[in-house]
Amino acid sequence: KETFVGHQVLRISADDEAQVQKVKELEDLEHLQLDFWRGPAQPGSPIDVRVPFPSIQAVKAFLETHGLEYTIMIEDVQSLLDAEQEQMFAFQAR
């Protein structure tokens, strides 16, 4: 079963078309294994991307280099998944 320890979900703000294109460049870098929860679309629309732990530094460096603002929407995906599983198992046990 795939685990997501250390994976983070970043919310990127792209203020203009050039910035949207920059994020699309990121999308094309397959080795980063990025999972866009909300893909790059029009300026002003939030872009949410799940970043595997090994890619986090590179992605944040890329965003900061290109002046793309971001916030961390989910600090650690696995911790949310663990909570979800606990809730399901608790119910099933009951």
Partner: protein, 309 residues
């Protein structure tokens, strides 16, 4: 004893548990609910649709599906709640009773069974189908890019390793083809609502082109009424508009195809939230999400009933 009254709607369930729920609901309401199998998935799982009908023959119908993107768990969980709600409200709620006295409702709760099973066993983040693509080591097609409406145009990917891969050809995915065949053979569906998450949006055609839909004004007005009804419960704010204007260009999408089949009231929902938990919405939000969405669905169903075409 286990029943749909003791079933826990406030937690996420496995495919087997959902199938068990369906069978319980049918057994408890044999005059109202039946379970149809419209096909088998790529990996051979049955594809079930619940039919809610009070009689008649091939009545005008409303279609609701959830879970076409398997990781959007709040949608399948809401679909379970909708199924129970329909049986509870028929004969109680005037609007729903009027709808079911002259229309049928079809509800497909797990529209991507292979992907859903995979989210429970191997990868909670899986979105697509689980079909194999010859010549590629990557698996799956985005079932919301595989429909024969602008198929393969901008707004989908031809790379099998991406989340929006459209597939080798339109309807290549049996999970999609099964619905296409059902809609065509039924021939009397008047509203088609496909439910996704997240972002809190109510969308109507088109996604693959910027031209306004011929029924744009009516769809926009109905969407406004629906999101107003939705917000009346917990204040949850939804945006609404055409797919391409409200989020992005998306080709080969479900409701662009259903609309092209003459199903005027074609809508896509994107449920909670707007980006705190995303696809990992806590189970504590399942019931409130389903309750508020139901008010929007009820608005669309009432409009469909009152505006026959």
């Amino acid at each position: 004893t286990r029943s749909t009254d003791t079933f826990n709607y406030a937690t996420y369930h496995t495919l087997e548990e959902i199938h068990g729920f369906m069978d319980m609901l049918v057994a408890e309401h044999p005059q109202l609910v039946s379970k149809l199998q419209i096909g088998n998935t790529y990996e051979g799982r049955p594809i079930y649709v619940l039919k809610f009908s009070t009689g008649g023959n091939n009545r005008p119908a409303i279609w609701i599906d959830t879970g076409i993107h398997s990781r959007e768990w709040v949608t399948q969980a809401s679909g379970i709640w909708f199924a129970k709600k329909i049986t509870q409200d028929y004969g109680q709620d005037l609007t729903l009773t009027a709808v079911l006295d002259s229309m049928d409702i079809f509800l497909e709760i797990v529209t991507n069974p292979d992907g859903f099973a995979f989210t429970h066993t191997k990868n909670r983040m899986w979105r697509k189908t689980r079909s194999l693509t010859p010549g590629s080591s990557c698996v799956g097609v985005d079932p919301n890019r595989n429909w024969d409406a602008g198929f393969g145009m901008a707004g989908a990917s031809n790379n099998p390793c991406t989340e929006t891969y459209h597939g080798k050809f339109a309807n290549s995915e049996v999970e999609v083809k099964s619905i296409v065949d059902f809609v065509k053979s039924h021939g009397n569906i008047k509203a088609f609502i496909s439910i996704h998450s997240y972002s809190q949006l109510l969308l109507y055609p088109y996604g693959y082109k910027a031209d306004p839909a011929p029924d744009q004004d009516e769809l926009d007005q109905l969407a406004k009424s629906a999101v107003t009804a939705l917000a009346s419960l917990y204040g949850t704010k939804f945006k609404y508009g055409s797919i391409i204007k409200t989020i992005y260009q998306a080709s080969g999408s479900t409701i662009d195809w259903t609309y092209s089949q003459g199903i005027k009231y074609s809508f896509t929902f994107e449920l909670r939230d707007t980006g705190r938990y995303g696809f990992l919405l806590p189970a504590s939000q399942i019931i409130p999400t389903a309750q508020e969405t139901w008010l929007a669905l009820r608005t669309i169903m009432e409009h469909t009933l009152n505006h026959p075409y």
